[in-house]
Every structure is written in C-alpha cells, then in structure tokens.
C-alpha cells in the first residue's frame, strides 16, 4: 500500500456518516433553546408541540422551504477589562438572544430577523479596515489587529433605535479616540467618515433594492472630530464577552450610544478623516426625517412618530418589555452635552 492511499483512506468518511451540513450547529441549537426559554411562551404552544410535532422533524419541515444556509457563526471568547464607570447595571441587560436576533442591518434584509438569518456566512476573517484621509499615518488593520492592537474593555451602553425601541448591551471594544490617536488626526480634519463593506455577493440587500430597503449602498455614516474623540465613542468588536456575530456588525462596528442606532455603523471597512460634513445614508434617503447629528432627543419628534418614549426590550419574555420615557442624549447628557453648546437641536436634528 502506497503512503498516499493510506492518507486518502484516513480522511474519507464512511457512507453512513452524516454530512456537516446536516448537523445543527451547536450555536444554533443553543440559541433556539435560549429563545424559547426567554420567550416564556412554552405553555402557549404546548398543544402544538405536545402533539408530536416537536424536535428535529419539525425543524426539517421548515428548512425544506429555505435555501441551504451556511453554518451559524461561532463567536470566539475575548479578553477584556471592565472599567468601573461603564459597568452601570442599574438597568437590566437585554438578553443575548434578543440582541443577536433583533437587528437592523438592511444589507441582509429589512425584517428584524433577516440579518440573523442571512448574515451567518459573512466572511469576517480576513478583514481589512483602512484609516486614511487627513491623518499623519494612514493605517490598515487586519482581523487580528482589530482584536489585539488596543486593550479591549467591556462597556454597558443603552442603545436607542430611531424606531422607538431600545436595549441595554454589554459591548466589548476600544475607544475610537485610541485608533484616531494612533493614526494622528491632522488639524485640518473636521469630520470622520465611516463606510460599511460593499460586497453584493455576500450582502443580498446590496444586490436587490427590494431586499435592501431602497438604501443607497455602501452604507456610510459620519461624526464630527469632537464627537469621534469623545470618550463614549466606541469601536466594538464584541458583545456579551465574545466576538460580534455578523448580524451585529462583525468584525468591527461603531457604537455611539447618545445617538440613534443608525449612526452606529456596522462591519466597517474604512474610516476617513475629512474636512467637511460627510454624506450619511439615512440622511440621503430621507433628509427631512434623519439629520446628520441624529442625537437622541425626546423633544424632537420624527416627522411621522413621537420620540418621547421608547419600548425597552427587557431580559425576559414577550411581556417583559416596558414603555419608558426617552432621555435627552439617551441619558448621556453629562458626557456629551458640551459638544452641542449653542447648537439648535431642533434644527440640527
């Protein structure tokens, strides 16, 4: 027997082995269980599941209608510190299963569940994040740099969506200011422009306007340099202690907690220092509804709905949500109000 034959035989699976595609990935399995548990609705459907529908046979029934999906993204544990000031646990955290299955990431479809369904195959390694424009040293960070170049820390932030729902999320990341300091911001720079990956082959919403909600891609966002240098501005690489799932903006996303969620751009490939206000995606789509600043403000309503209150998605089941009043700058007034001194927040919404 030749050596090569031996090697071939070693790696060939027997005919009775099930293929990897048929195995429910552990992450999915665990996630499904967690969701069912969190919803606390077991009793509601007990009649259904009790009648012999439960288990893998049922999952197969619905899988038959959908295309073959890539296996679920498996997050990786991160090493990080826990700075005291960002560990405010006075408000209960939104469950991890909710944070990872209730997303706006129109590149993967406009339903809240679409990103978790369609983003699992997103290639996040290799990744390239460019920092360029008006900087002393342009940088290019690869996937490992994102996790290792800066000390990671956990920060618990409120997230307020412009659609009037909110969550409390333990992010893991590093200050945007640290990255900007490394690149060296030139004094002529006034704004920071961000850009999401543009890859229609991986992002169905970029290929098809119907799926992508009519947004002009690539998704772009922006901050003033002062906003970007604020200590709250975070580049997140993880949540709940692990690397970000693709639906949450893997491998790196912005988190600016005093602004509406759409400012916190996902899956960033480019950060450019510029000398004028950069275009931003939602502002381009509906300038009378979404401004450049997009600061959370209960006194400035969306033209079609009130921003005075929000639906806080809580830690438990369907009925654990609550209606709470929305706070100016999402409750981060002490940290950011000075940035907008003298600015008419009604005009510059």
């Amino acid at each position: 027997m030749k050596r090569s034959d031996f090697v071939t035989r070693r790696v060939t699976k027997p005919s009775w082995a099930i293929s990897e595609a048929e195995v429910t990935p552990e992450a999915v399995f665990r996630e499904r269980r967690a969701i069912v548990k969190a919803l606390g609705l077991g009793a509601l459907g007990a009649g259904l599941t009790g009648a012999g529908f439960s288990g893998t046979a049922q999952a197969g029934l619905f899988d038959a209608f959908s295309e073959k999906k890539p296996p679920a993204f498996i997050p990786q544990a991160l090493q990080f510190g826990r700075p005291e000031r960002f560990q405010d646990l006075s408000e209960p955290l939104t469950g991890e299963d909710k944070v990872t299955t209730h997303n706006n990431f129109y590149e993967f479809g406009t339903d809240k569940t679409s990103p978790a369904e369609n983003a699992q195959g997103l290639i996040t390694n290799p990744w390239m994040l460019k920092v360029d424009g008006l900087v002393d040293t342009p940088l290019t960070l690869d996937h490992d740099d994102l996790l290792k170049m800066f000390a990671l820390e956990e920060r618990i932030y409120r997230l307020r969506c412009v659609e009037a729902w909110s969550m409390v999320i333990p992010w893991v990341g590093f200050p945007l200011a640290a990255l900007l300091a490394k690149a060296g911001v030139k004094s002529s720079a006034t704004h920071v422009a961000f850009e999401t990956l543009y890859d229609p082959n991986q992002m169905p919403g970029q290929k098809n306007r119907f799926i992508g909600g009519g947004v002009d891609y690539p998704y772009v966002e922006g901050l003033t340099v002062a906003e970007a240098m604020n200590e709250l501005s975070l580049l997140s690489v993880g949540l709940y202690g692990k690397t970000l799932p693709p639906q949450n903006g893997a491998p790196i996303r912005l988190v600016v907690p005093w602004k509406y969620g759409f400012k916190s751009i996902k899956s960033v490939v480019r950060i450019s220092l510029v000398n004028k206000e950069p275009p931003t995606s939602w502002n381009k789509l509906a300038p009378d509804e979404y401004g450049f600043y997009a600061n959370v403000n209960p006194a400035v309503d969306h033209p079609r709905w009130s921003q005075a209150s929000e639906r806080r998605i809580g830690p438990g089941g369907l009925f654990s949500a609550s209606r709470i009043p929305t706070r100016l700058f999402n409750g981060y007034e002490a940290e950011v109000a000075h940035l907008y001194k003298g600015l008419d927040l009604k005009r510059f919404y």
Binding site: L39, K112, V215, R304
Partner: protein
C-alpha cells in the same frame, strides 16, 4: 334615466344569440359542498395564525417578535381585504354566484386580523400605556389613518348580521360602500408607517387601484348619488 329603455331593448336580442352559442352554465354548489367550501376558507385563514403561534413558540420570529407580529397581522388584514374585493369580480367572471355567499366570511376574517393587529400594538408595543395614547398616537398620522380604517371595518363587521342588514334597508349598502374608502386608506397607513422601501406598499396600492378600476362604474354611481343627496 336614458339607460333604462336601452337595457330593456337589449335583453331580448341576447336571448336568440345565446341559443346559437351555448351559454355557460352558472356554477352552483350544493348546500353541503358550500359548507365544505366555507370550512376550507376558515382553515386557510386560520392556518397563518397557527403558524404565528408556532413561530413565536419556537423562536423562529427573532428575539423580539413584536414588530413581526404587528406586520404579519396587519399585512394579513390587507391581503384578506383584497380577497374580499376580488370576490364579486371573480363571481361574475366565473359565473359562480356561491362565491358571493362567502364574502361576509372573508370580510370578517380581514376584520379579525385587523383586530389582532391593533390588539398586539396596544398590548405589546404600547404596553397599555394609555397615558401615551394621546401624546404618541395623535402625533403619528399613520396611526390616525389606520384607526380610521379600523373603525370602518368594525362598523361593517358589527352590521354584518342578516337581521341587521334587513332592518337597515338602503342604509346598509351605503355604509358598506365605505369599504372602497377603507382599502386605499389602509394602503396609505402602510406606506406611511414604513421607514424605507416603498416598493411593497406601492404594489399593494396598484392592486387596490385595479380592484377599484374594475368597479369604476359602480363607484361613479355612488359618488353621483351621494352628490345628489347633498
């Protein structure tokens, strides 16, 4: 007024023509078959709700399915309303008069979905914060418009009993003509509520436009008689 004699004159001329070319037989259903058909319709309209319960229970609708539930029931109500509006043109085209006997049933299912839509909004989205009802709801024109459409559907559902229909006489038809107003208003409610992506609401708008265009003669008659009444 001038149309009436023409009609009289036209009807005898149809009869000889229909003798030479065999007239299509109107499709009829036995009482029993009609019951089965209605049962099948009830099944068709209740299955999506069963799927919803299953989906929530199995976590197929995401970590926070409230928006999904609201969209699903809202779109369901609109879809079924379009089916309701399709009944009479279809009955005419297929010569299937029994379809008209199912129209109330379908309309009531549309109302049921709309009721669920509203109930889920108040209970799971607004979380019964009735103090917010005015500050929040009045500020959202799409909610006002949606509420208007719901009130119409509610009135039609409440007056759908045969006994009430007989007692109301001509007023019943007048009231139920409001459905032609409710359909476009619901599409407006939908288009107004979405953050982006107007393609789907526009498709619904086109469908409603077609369904109203089919019965334009009736709509013109309604409008002119209403004008005369004023």
């Amino acid at each position: 007024m001038s149309a009436a004699p023409e009609k009289v004159a036209a009807s005898p001329s149809i009869t000889p023509a229909s003798r030479s070319t065999p007239r299509r037989q109107p499709r009829r259903l036995s009482r029993r078959a009609l019951l089965w058909f209605k049962g099948a319709l009830h099944l068709v309209f209740s299955l999506p709700l069963l799927w919803l319960i299953y989906g929530v229970n199995q976590g197929l609708l995401g970590g926070d399915p409230v928006q999904y539930l609201i969209h699903f029931t809202g779109k369901g109500a609109l879809n079924i309303l379009l089916v309701t509006l399709l009944v009479s043109p279809l009955a005419k085209a297929l010569q299937a008069g029994f379809l008209l006997e199912c129209r109330r049933l379908i309309g009531l299912w549309s109302f049921a979905y709309a009721g669920l839509h509203l109930a889920i909004f108040i209970s799971l989205d607004l979380l019964f914060a009735f103090n917010l009802l005015f500050s929040e709801v009045i500020k959202r024109p799409y909610l006002v418009v949606g509420m208007l459409a719901f009130i119409v559907l509610l009135l039609l559902a409440v007056t759908s009993f045969n006994r009430l229909r007989r007692r109301m006489g001509k007023g019943w038809q007048l009231l139920h003509n409001l459905i032609y107003l409710a359909a476009p208003v619901i599409v407006l409610h939908y288009a107004w509520s979405v953050k982006s992506g107007l393609i789907e609401p526009m498709l619904y708008g086109a469908a409603v436009a077609v369904l109203l265009w089919i019965r334009r003669a009736k709509l013109v008659a309604i409008v002119t008689s209403a004008r005369r009444a004023v």
